[in-house]
Symmetry: C2
Amino acid sequence: MELPKGVEWAAHALVVLEVAAGRAVSSVGLARTFDLSPTYLNKHLQKLAAAGIVTSTAGATGGFRLTRPAADVSLGDVVAALGSATPLFQCSEIRCQGAFAEQKQQILASGLCSINQAMLRAEDAWRSSLAGTSIADLAYGLDDNTRTRMLRATGLGPDTDKDPS
Amino acid sequence: MELPKGVEWAAHALVVLEVAAGRAVSSVGLARTFDLSPTYLNKHLQKLAAAGIVTSTAGATGGFRLTRPAADVSLGDVVAALGSATPLFQCSEIRCQGAFAEQKQQILASGLCSINQAMLRAEDAWRSSLAGTSIADLAYGLDDNTRTRMLRATGLGPDTDKDPS
């Protein structure tokens, strides 16, 4: 069981959009920054757009932008947007089968299965932790060299051949 | 992304083994209790055996037993035994690609990617929560009627036709 690979790509792309500080970045520019497939990255970006995290504009100067401050976009939002919003544990209520089939209605009325409860508690802990890290937190630690390389790769400049390192 | 279905089956089977209080229960008896496929349940039980959580004995009175007190078997152990011991988030180090390829060694030497760190923190929270619920905790809340139905379905008795409900 693994999170979709797109989570990593989407999180890094969102950090670049934060570094771009409101300027639109094309999916090609984002893909070039990390040498990713533009086609696949664009699919992940479309999921972020569907979740309202980014917006895109067409045209030569178009591209993707964050729709809200990066401090308000958490890794939990990214995981949910990339398709992992459903519970990790899927209870199929086997507690109501076999020797317990005739008591099914009583059992269901008694509340969630204790195994499901424990699994949901654990998942709450996971999602709460993910909600505690924002794209702004992730961008905050980047040094100038990294920011410069990001901006240059996206095509936003600075337009210089000088090695930023 | 979902946990393997076997996690639910294995957790319920372990609760039955705790109710059996040290007596061996066959995989057929465990499967009958919840109307599960004996073949698939046996595969999951073999994974629990490989992880050292249960042991099996052959013969007419053979079957599965817990190898240690149920208080020392957590849902985290079950999830790990069923094949989800690898991290949920698999970092592929895209931070070292594209515009950053020539700095790869420096970047890797600087420590884990901050996105991976946040993902691992969240996963620690998940696994810690799972570690906090034991099979003994899950069995503790079962009423006498449920315990009787379990034991009867496994073939351990009590040998009566009286409806336990």
